[in-house]
Symmetry: C2
Amino acid sequence: MKLKEVGEKVLVETARKTFRKGKSIRIGIGDDAAAVDLPGKKCLVVTTDMLVASTHFPAGMKPEQIGIKSVVVNLSDLASMGAEPLGLAFSVALPRELEFGYVKRIMRGMESAAKEYGTYVVGGDLDEAEEITIAGSAFGLADKNKLLRRSGVRKGDILAVTGELGAASAGLKIIMEKIPAKGYGELVKAQLEPKARVMEGMALARSGHVKAAIDVSDGLAANLWHLSRESGVKIIIDREKIPVHRLVKKFSAQYGYDIDEFALYSGEDFELIFATQPRFWESVKSALKRTGTKATPIGMAVEGSGVFIKIGEKIDELEDRGYEHFK
Amino acid sequence: MKLKEVGEKVLVETARKTFRKGKSIRIGIGDDAAAVDLPGKKCLVVTTDMLVASTHFPAGMKPEQIGIKSVVVNLSDLASMGAEPLGLAFSVALPRELEFGYVKRIMRGMESAAKEYGTYVVGGDLDEAEEITIAGSAFGLADKNKLLRRSGVRKGDILAVTGELGAASAGLKIIMEKIPAKGYGELVKAQLEPKARVMEGMALARSGHVKAAIDVSDGLAANLWHLSRESGVKIIIDREKIPVHRLVKKFSAQYGYDIDEFALYSGEDFELIFATQPRFWESVKSALKRTGTKATPIGMAVEGSGVFIKIGEKIDELEDRGYEHFK
């Protein structure tokens, strides 16, 4: 059987079964990042994320933006665990015919993004390849008992999301379909220069009232399904409450696109979905507010399984659809 | 200017200048791995290494061997810092048309190698690409004041190397030139299933008498040049003392190859070159012996710069030549 018939999820499941999980491994394969116990109260949180030019870099993406995105996708995985970044390392494969100046600009993008999040590029590896391939790894520290994880949602929890959704994928649509970007520059920028919610993840973890989070990398729907499966709960969200970026609404109306494709079924917004008990909501909201970021409650976790969406009076199962490799 | 005109070394130098080095960064870009201070006595040692099929996987390499090599190249970088491995993470890009069974076998190879060195594969990322690309990262712990580094050689130090040299590249020659492997299976195996000197690196660091090491990944000559440049010393080695693998001698004689091409100018033996003061030599040798590995003194560090080789009564500069990407 070929990978395109098997799909990414089955591969992840196979990895989970193949690799032993040692006693020191607090969180292994299957979350946004892994967590390994260190002596003392802290654990090391590590993640790796690879960007391949043909899949991840839309036409017209500047080399600085390639550098920024390489940093952000990795830091976002630390953010969704609530970890404080210590540093980043990059394995970079480049074509021999590539211009040196272009590579310098990628590095400058990496450096500026690392600086923005108060962290450092500490090492790397260089190789040759047909297309630009950047594998980053990020590592950070978190309190052992304050990790945010996919499996941390409990029935009765409120599900909430930071910021707004849909901008990055609407931006990608503009780029791919060569739609005039006038008035929609913010959407294009959300795609090309995404932000990671690093301070927000740390604030959620430190509040002590949040045990579950995931970043919106595959899309709201797919990421909610991850939370539901890993936590063993049923999640019901309210379509009306989903904070869709205002320009995504405008853009969808103007060009006849379905808003849900951007806000629910496409990824790369890198917002955080998290869960907390209703009685802690105000306190968590204030903790987040100090980072300058708003959060919106979008639903609840209850006993059962699956992810459902309330539209008006109707409640339907939400499609488990988003970005999946190989399929 | 294109990368093929610039070469890997200039790129590394550019990276060094581009990326800030924070106060917590004990060792940044330019060593085998980076070291970041943790609270307390330990520092985190991290490295990343990418293997691209067309460059790194010779024809006939089994998927299990691809998995093994991916683990070993990364652990070898931890070994050369004297760090104890905590875990590994892999970003893997695969073609959609690849067989699922093939990928399972790569994973099994990774798992068996991780187990051999007492460590774990804790996470990863999956992507699509035209050719198999595996970017690993390994992380471990070391005492802050017992790190082995490229810049740690002092004048008066003995330079020594673990094990024997030349086997991996002679094995590669056999594979590439389709030379009958009969009698030379050990060389082929050294190429396809290399070993990392993890316990040896830890023993050297813990002895307290070794401050400098590097792994033989680019070749003895190129790696000695790295040590010389980073430590600001002149290194003189004795050609007679270089421990060449006996089958490399036999193979070179039989097929008319220059032994030095394998033992001095080709890499991937993953032995450790290290430095210690003469008065500590016996103690370091015994510390190593407990891991079951021999070390051979091959030269000395003196005041000055450059790497030189003594052949009979003549001392010549050793060519700074080995594997360099893009050139």
